[in-house]
């Protein structure tokens, strides 16, 4: 543990974007930039601070950890803390950079949007939440950030919630990750019970000293991994990520490329001491990662929507990162996270640029765009090469390290899966590139323009390049995709010096490297060849459909979503929910409420009866008595003098009798 230096101020890094959130919410609408300027400056400042921390972490190794007590109860206290090492600092840089770039990009992309200010507020809240997660020194705080990014993801995916489809996607994302989060929460509690602490450093120390039983370590690791399955879209909880493309494209670039989905990977890397201590956990992770890699890559090959291709690609690449974790190459996995952030964000923003120009997501309606959108084309090409794993671009170095580590560790499943996936990745990116940018534009306006698509300003319909606010981020990310991997080349791997992860292994295999290059280039060429002559017009048939039933199954996402719908969603929706609503809520709870109401009504009636009969009766009784008495007394005033005289004599008689009886007059 070291102290001092710029890293002491690291707590500002999450605080700045969250402050931006509040400022934008309260006064954003009144500002000239509608809140965007606040977001960009604050996030930018956080990023700069992150860079400084990163530099300090590289220069002076070691961890800066600070915390303050939040709540104290019993013998425990909950901490809010920071743990700034190379890994965390790297994430500051990645998250900050992608967030700033996509906010600049959104100036153009989201211009005139119905909820422009709220968009910036939510993006900043998300950025701050992710940074809270990253900087946390204890798993409870990490859980807080974890949940918050989930909420922000929901808000941002459902940004255009007027369309039912979009709000459904947001709900699907949230609920699916919830399943994973349940495991995560139980894992946090379990580890706390086992280790008597939430602190990451202390947990890892305890595990290293075998102070916690292996069973508990395994179960804890697997439970935490459940959260990663949800957040990082591993099989079987990957289903939300493709649907999340319903959100604005910059959101996809930020959340579903570089940051939120990497939270699972980051978490595993952060507490790697726990995972690496359990062979069973690593094996499970490896299996799931391999399935994820392959499944997603296959599905990416049959998509028509350009964003969906990228979404499945992300799932597949996340599988790579997790696979790296499972074979012990944690640093390689993090390295891939680093490079993937750059080129995937680039690809998403590039696709956004394309969509912005042609107003459709369907690649079969594009084509030939390299002529009309050169900057977008070149940057997208760079990103694709990086993703496919062609040297010297970034993705090659990181992916190769993973596959090499898989080979070295003897994990054949991961190795084979990695190789096949690498091929498929290259193939579908070739397909994507070809359909979008090569050939001729398939929606050329016919003179007279019956089926030309509309442009807002009524202009004619050839697509054009996007404005600089959108192209500059693309250029920056493309540059990073070129050089970003160079920090981790086998010749001089400084990356592993930056990121120190206990329990990670390193190594490189030349043969694997060569094989990767061949596979990558080969895949790209095959993709190009299959699609370059794709006919244009409507009703384009994908050549892959020749694969028949396998193709159809792939188009239907292997019926996984249908399965979930039938087996889980519908029974809950129509069965459990209906039961809870109809029986529990309406009859039991409402019945109880109605009973109380009826009881009160009866009580009220009884009180009224008492009042009317009893109280009023008494009062009326008095009146009645007075009435009758007065009626009698009134008779005395008969006006009859002889009556009065009679009374007089009676009185005299009585007086006389009394006097007489008392003893003589």
């Amino acid at each position: 543990m070291v102290s001092g230096g710029i890293r002491e101020l690291a707590w500002l890094i999450p605080v700045l974007p969250i402050s931006a959130f509040f400022i934008i919410v309260f006064i954003g609408k009144k500002l000239p930039g509608k809140g965007a300027e606040i977001g960009i400056t604050f996030t930018g400042a956080a990023w700069v601070l992150g860079l400084l921390c990163f530099q300090d972490a590289i220069a002076r190794h070691g961890i800066v950890e600070r915390s303050l007590t939040w709540i104290r109860f019993g013998g425990f206290s909950l901490q809010l803390g920071i743990r700034v090492d190379g890994l965390a600092s790297m994430m500051f840089v990645v998250v900050g950079l992608v967030s700033v770039l996509m906010q600049i990009y959104s100036l153009g992309y989201m211009k005139g949007d119905v909820r422009y200010t709220w968009y910036y507020a939510a993006v900043n809240l998300f950025t701050g939440s992710m940074l809270v997660l990253v900087i946390a020194n204890n798993i409870l705080q990490m859980l807080v950030g974890w949940e918050l990014v989930g909420v922000c993801s929901y808000l941002l995916i459902g940004h255009w919630y007027e369309e039912k489809e979009n709000s459904n996607a947001a709900i699907k994302a949230f609920i699916t990750t919830r399943f994973g989060d349940l495991g995560f929460e139980i894992g946090v509690i379990l580890l706390f019970v086992a280790a008597r602490t939430f602190n990451i450093g202390q947990i890892q120390t305890l595990v290293a000293h075998h102070a916690i039983s292996t069973t508990l370590v395994t179960i804890g690791a697997l439970l935490l991994f459940c959260g990663a399955i949800g957040k990082s879209a591993q099989f079987p909880l990957h289903v939300w990520l493709p649907d999340a493309m319903a959100g604005p494209t910059p959101v996809s670039a930020l959340i579903h490329a570089a940051t939120m989905v990497t939270a699972g990977v980051y978490m595993v890397a952060r507490i790697y001491g726990l995972f690496s201590a359990s062979h069973i956990a690593l094996t499970v992770i490896g299996i799931i990662a391999s399935i994820t890699m392959l499944l997603a890559a296959v599905l990416a090959c049959v998509q028509r929507d350009i964003k969906r291709v990228l979404a499945y690609s992300t799932v597949s690449q996340l599988g790579y990162m997790m696979a790296a974790m499972s074979v012990g190459a944690a640093t390689a996995g993090v390295f891939h996270l680093w490079t993937h952030a750059f080129f995937k964000a680039l690809l998403f923003l590039g696709s956004g640029s394309v969509i912005h120009a042609v107003h459709t997501n369907d690649m079969f309606e594009m084509g030939g765009l390299r002529k009309y959108m050169p900057i977008t084309y070149v940057t997208f090409l760079i990103g694709s090469l990086a993703l496919a794993g062609v040297p010297p671009f970034a993705g090659f170095w990181s992916k190769d390290e993973i596959v090499g580590a898989a080979w070295s560790s003897g994990n054949h499943l991961v190795f084979v899966a990695g190789i096949i996936t690498a091929f498929l990745t290259a193939f579908y990116m070739g397909r994507c590139l070809t359909l979008t940018f090569a050939g001729r534009y398939r929606r050329m306006p016919v003179a007279g323009g019956a089926e030309a698509d509309e442009h807002e300003d009524g202009d004619h319909h050839l697509p054009h390049e996007s404005p600089p606010s959108m192209t500059w981020p693309l250029i920056i990310l493309a540059a990073l995709s070129v050089v970003g991997g160079l920090v981790g080349t086998p010749i001089h791997n400084i990356f592993k010096d930056w990121i120190v992860i206990p329990g990670a292994e390193h190594g490189v295999v030349v043969a694997v490297m060569v094989a990767s290059i061949i596979i990558a280039i080969g895949g790209l060429l095959i993709g190009y060849a299959m699609y370059v002559r794709a006919p244009y017009g409507f009703g384009v048939i994908d050549p892959l459909s020749k694969l028949g039933p396998f193709y159809r199954a792939a188009v239907n996402k292997f019926y996984i979503d249908d399965f979930y719908l039938k087996v889980i969603v519908r029974p809950v929706q129509y069965g459990l929910s209906k039961f809870v609503y109809n029986v529990l809520d309406q009859e039991v709870i409402d019945g109880a409420v109605n009973l109380v109401a009826a009881g009160t009504v009866q009580l009220g009636k009884a009180v009224r009866e008492t009042d009317e009969r009893g109280v009023d009766g008494v009062v009326n009784g008095f009146a009645w008595i007075t009435d009758k008495t007065s009626y009698l007394l009134r008779k005395l005033q008969s006006g009859n003098v002889q009556g009065y005289a009679a009374g007089l004599f009676v009185g005299v008689v009585i007086l006389a009798a009394v006097l007489f009886l008392r003893g003589g007059i």
């Binding site: 009859n640 002889q642 009556g643 009679a646 004599f649 009676v650 005299v652 008689v653 006389a656 009798a657 007489f660 003589g664 007059i665």
Partner: protein
């Protein structure tokens, strides 16, 4: 039994009967006549008890003038009230009268139970006249003024205007 005693009992019976008759008869004129008979009986009793002047004055004034006055009154105001002469409270009135009698009788009997009266003193008119104009002259004069006032008042009340 001595003569006065017999006379007394006869006169007492007569007076009592006529008194009862006076208050129970339905005819007003009969009632007035009954009154005069009772008054004559009383006058006789006065004389029996030695109050000669008072007895004679009683006959002169009461029977002679007052009863005549009653007659005039009866004549000028209708002789009968058909059909009922007694009012609704006659039962209670009877009871009250009886109660009064009982109380009086009780008082009389306890106070004067064993005493006897003798008819031995007569009060001469001279002595009464003498007393009237010496010791009792003031009440005498007052009564005369009273009579004057009554006279004037009666005229005022009864005149037609």
């Amino acid at each position: 039994m001595a003569l006065p005693t017999i006379a007394f009992w006869m006169l007492a019976a007569f007076t009592a009967v006529t008194a009862i008759f006076t208050v129970t008869t339905r005819n007003v004129v009969h009632s007035a006549l009954g009154l005069s008979a009772a008054l004559i009986g009383a006058a006789a009793l006065f004389i029996l008890f030695g109050a000669q002047f008072v007895g004679l004055a009683q006959i002169l004034i009461y029977v002679g003038a007052v009863v005549i006055l009653f007659m005039f009154g009866i004549m000028l105001t209708g002789t009968s009230i058909r059909p009922v002469v007694d009012n609704d409270q006659r039962v209670m009135a009877a009871l009250v009268a009886v109660a009064v009698f009982i109380v009086l009788a009780a008082g009389i009997l306890t106070s004067f139970g064993g005493r006897k009266v003798r008819f031995d003193v007569a009060f001469p008119t001279v002595a009464i006249g003498h007393a009237l104009f010496t010791t009792w002259v003031l009440p005498f004069e007052a009564v005369s003024i009273l009579l004057l006032a009554a006279l004037v008042g009666a005229i005022v009340l009864a005149r037609r205007d």
